[in-house]
């Protein structure tokens, strides 16, 4: 959210003074005149057990909420303010949020796993309730009336039935600190008392974003800064191999006299006062690299993965899977493969660092300011309390793109240059050094009895873990390493079989060695598209085997009312009529199909229907209409979730039809939008988004919860159109033609 001060600094249509990152110090000093240390004066995280950490009430009867979650374009800052506004009895116009800053905002953990509303919402709600109770106690004294006789509207506390007697929040607190503990014991309002929660309040960032006055990370400037660029071999190699400098010829940029080469170990960069000089110097600098040929390349990827010696773990097991498969009348199996895919933010990541001998300020678009700060202590060799990390929204990131890498790299360049450095990654840096969503192999078996009930389910998944060391750190000497284990990097019990009422189930994870592959991390709905592509095709195949409509088959096998709820909601939106899949297959050149599926990422429920068109001569597949339904419990801002569903459906189409990281035995080769095409306007499907509102259920995530279902619905629609199961995506024309040819 852009503050008024920034808006003024951003200037008019001919841009006068542009934003300076350090205006917020003054703004904060203007608050908190109560004698306490000024907010932001010391390193955080501020004490989460103090109400003042979470919000401030100003003399003008407005409030600021200090939220520990980043606005990544998903609209969470608007929704979290809705929660606070209702709890505080304020209008949306009276309340604003504050950009993340390790000196100011609380540590609520990183902004991932669609956690802003799920995890942050209850914290903001209880903190606001605590503040409201304190304000009512102050008002009670001020007005000489018991709390029971007070009512609040728009931050004005009045004595009921005595309209003349009132006092405002601003008069009661007016920029002073509350100085009360956050006990979490203040009563929160019931859903029936919500005024703005549950309504589609317009996003607070949209006007500035369409006007050009929104300040993205890429717009931030510091006085006296240099422009930096990194110099790396184009496209990463195997994570464990890294890249080694053989020689750097500084005379190669002699024609750009203002540019300087900076180097620490195998980390090479250039800086210059003028941005274009830095861009040219980075491209012109002659660096010889040692690049070992240690990757399998796309051609041998899945073969090598499947042949690896793996670390195996039974993630989930119940009943007697082996015996049930032995006796069940209907058994299907399916092996599927999903590619490496890139975050590929539309604007490559950018950061500014000002590293001095005794302190550092790093401005960037990280998903997690506090974890980044910890990592920076090793990069700049300063203790955490001497490092301040500030967040500005960049281009959408969809997970762990290069935002931490660019922040580390800017810090290294600034430390070496002795000046603030703004580092903008080039397109090939971002595409070539991403932490890709890992490739996956899924082998699934499912069995049903004669009545069409699923009786056994088994899934084996192969993929590598996420990486834990960013490229910049690695180039300066930190050994590459895997992340310590976490549930999200292995086959997901939430998304594989568990939505069905199956008595016998087994999920096995086969972890392959990370260091021989590409650097990996969480990409929106991590691995879920691959899981669902395999799993929900197998379920669909069972329905086909049983000659049942795929929607009716799922209805029969789901007990959980919330899974049934999204399934029914999406089927209704798509006007689903019962029919056996692939029963309309024809010899026509262009055929159409529809598919249905369910899936999730974490705690929410997703359902999707796809209507697609397949050109059997060219192999081109186009989604014509995608429908998606999400039950995320209490939908704080349903309109915003509809927008999220719409985006997830389009992004899923892109990932199912287009996206694949390409690489040979030495390095990644998909380095721009030609090498890594994404869905464009002409191929964009019509979308229908359905929010299943559950006012009395706890809110869960909505930013990535329908992608798994949509991916599988597309695959099932392909089967409906052609009678052929796709075993690998993206469903590009050559792959589609090969599958159709194989089936003939």
């Amino acid at each position: 959210m852009t503050t008024r001060r920034e808006f003024l600094q951003a200037g008019g249509a001919l841009g006068g003074a542009l934003v300076i990152g350090f205006n917020l110090g003054n703004e904060l000093l203007a608050q908190d005149r109560g004698g306490a240390p000024a907010r932001g004066a010391t390193a955080g995280p501020p004490d989460a057990r103090q109400v003042d950490t979470w919000l401030a009430v100003h003399a003008d009867n407005s409030a600021t909420v200090y939220i520990g979650f980043a606005e990544l374009g998903q609209g969470n800052s608007t929704a979290l303010l809705q929660i606070a506004a209702d709890e505080l009895d304020l209008e949306m116009s009276q309340i604003k949020t504050f950009r993340l800053d390790t000196n100011v905002t609380p540590n609520q953990g990183g902004t991932y796993s669609s956690a802003s509303i799920a995890r942050g919402g209850p914290q903001i709600r209880t903190a606001a309730a605590e503040a409201r109770l304190a304000l009512l106690q102050m008002a009670s004294k001020n007005l000489g009336s018991s709390i029971e006789k007070l009512s609040v509207s728009k931050g004005v506390v009045s004595v009921i039935d005595t309209p003349g007697r009132s006092v405002t929040y601003g008069q009661l607190v007016g920029d002073k600190l509350f100085n009360i503990p956050f006990t979490g014991s203040a009563p929160v309002k019931s859903a029936s008392a919500y005024k703005v929660v549950g309504s589609s309040v317009r996003r607070n960032d949209a006007p500035d974003k369409v006007r050009g006055t929104y300040i993205y990370m890429q717009h931030v400037r510091l006085p006296g800064m240099l422009h930096g660029r990194v110099v790396r071999p184009r496209g990463q190699g195997a994570y464990g191999s890294g890249a080694k400098v053989l020689s750097v010829d500084e005379t190669s940029i002699r024609s750009i006299p203002e540019a300087r080469v900076l180097r620490r170990g195998d980390f090479v960069g250039v800086v210059a006062p003028n941005e274009w000089d830095a861009v040219r110097a980075a491209q012109q600098l002659d660096v010889k690299w040692d690049r070992p040929a240690t990757l399998p390349g796309n051609a041998r990827l899945f073969e090598q993965m499947r042949a690896e010696t793996t670390q195996d773990r039974v993630v989930s097991e119940k009943g007697d899977v082996a015996a049930t498969f032995g006796t069940a009348p209907h058994v299907v199996s399916q092996t599927c493969r999903g590619p490496y895919q890139a975050h590929a933010p539309f604007g490559p990541n950018c950061a500014i660092a000002d590293v001095r001998p005794d302190s550092a300020t790093v401005i960037c678009s990280t998903q997690d300011i506090y974890t980044l700060r910890t990592g920076l202590t090793r990069i700049v060799e300063l203790p955490a309390e001497k490092i301040r990390v500030q967040y500005y929204e960049g281009s959408g990131t969809y997970g762990h793109s290069c935002h931490d890498d660019v922040a580390q790299a800017a810090s290294i360049l600034s430390q070496l240059a002795g000046k603030p450095v703004r580092l903008q990654f080039m397109r090939w840096d971002e595409m070539g050094y991403d932490n890709y969503g890992p490739a996956h192999i899924g082998e699934v078996r499912a069995a049903a009895d004669a009545d069409g009930r699923i009786v056994a389910y088994e899934y084996h998944g192969w993929q590598h873990n996420w990486s834990n060391v960013e490229t910049s750190a690695q180039l300066t000497g930190t050994a590459p390493a895997e992340r310590p284990g976490s549930a999200a990097q292995q086959v997901s019990p939430l998304n594989l079989g568990s939505m069905y009422d199956v008595a016998n189930l087994k999920l096995v994870n086969h972890a392959i060695p990370s260091l021989k592959y590409l650097k990996g991390a969480w990409l929106r709905s991590p691995l879920d598209l691959s899981f669902s592509f395999a799993s929900e095709q197998a379920v669909d195949e069972l329905a086909h085997l049983l000659k049942m409509d795929p929607y009716a088959f799922r209805q029969r096998n789901i007990k959980d009312p919330r899974w049934l709820g999204v399934l029914d909601a999406v089927a209704k939106a798509a006007s689903w009529t019962p029919r056996l899949a692939a029963s309309g297959s024809s010899g026509a050149k262009i055929v159409t199909g529809r598919g249905i599926a369910v899936g999730t990422h974490l705690a929410s429920y997703g359902g999707a229907v796809a209507e697609i068109e397949v050109n059997k001569e060219t192999g081109r597949v186009v989604a014509k209409h995608l429908y998606g339904a999400i039950d995320a419990g209490l939908a704080v801002n349903p309109g915003n979730i509809e927008n999220q569903i719409s985006g997830q459906l389009v992004q899923t189409a892109s990932r199912m039809f287009k996206e694949e990281v390409t690489f040979n035995t030495t390095n990644v080769t998909s380095l721009d939008w030609n090498g890594y095409p994404i869905l464009r306007f002409e191929e964009c499907p019509q979308v229908t988004a359905v929010v299943v509102q559950r006012m009395n259920e706890r809110s869960s995530g909505a930013g990535e919860e329908v992608m798994a279902a949509a991916a599988a619905a597309i695959a099932n629609a392909f089967f409906d159109a052609t009678g052929v199961r796709m075993e690998e995506y993206p469903m590009t024309p050559p792959r589609v033609l090969a599958s159709l040819g194989k089936a003939k």
Binding site: L14, G73, R202, W276, G394, N640, Q644, S646, G647, W673
Partner: protein, 169 residues
Amino acid sequence: MASELQIRINDQLRKIQSAPDTPLLYVLTDELNLQGPRFGCGLGQCGSCSVLVNGVETRSCMTRVAAVDGKSVTTLEGLPAWYAAQKKLARTPNLHPVQQAMIDEQAVQCGYCFNGMIIKASELLSKNAQPSESQIRTAMNGHLCRCGTYPRVLKAIQNAAQAMKAVTK
């Protein structure tokens, strides 16, 4: 190296200090502090840096500043005034109708691509007041969005066309 270049930017004549071979994008962002055009790929593939040059959508990352010497460059910031001049309106509106429609449709997610989306859509509607859906898709096909806002952008452009028709009457 100072150049002798002069460009009319958002209706103001500006002398340019940057070297003539500098891409227009860096002149707009670093020398003139504009926020509309922004770096996306530097390769002319995505539309992030788009501006209007004499009313024609142009990728500023691939255009040397010398190539627009003496021409008129309109950025996102100058779009309402550009529209007012085109329509001979007495007053410059707060927003171009395409911008207003993007807000009304709540089309934005991260919004980073919206500079290019709005510039391109404004160019389209200046040439073709009532484009068909297929014409809109074709015109916009060179502008990427990673958040997947295309369906709402499409609707917003259609709504903007309707709003502009009302203005003309």
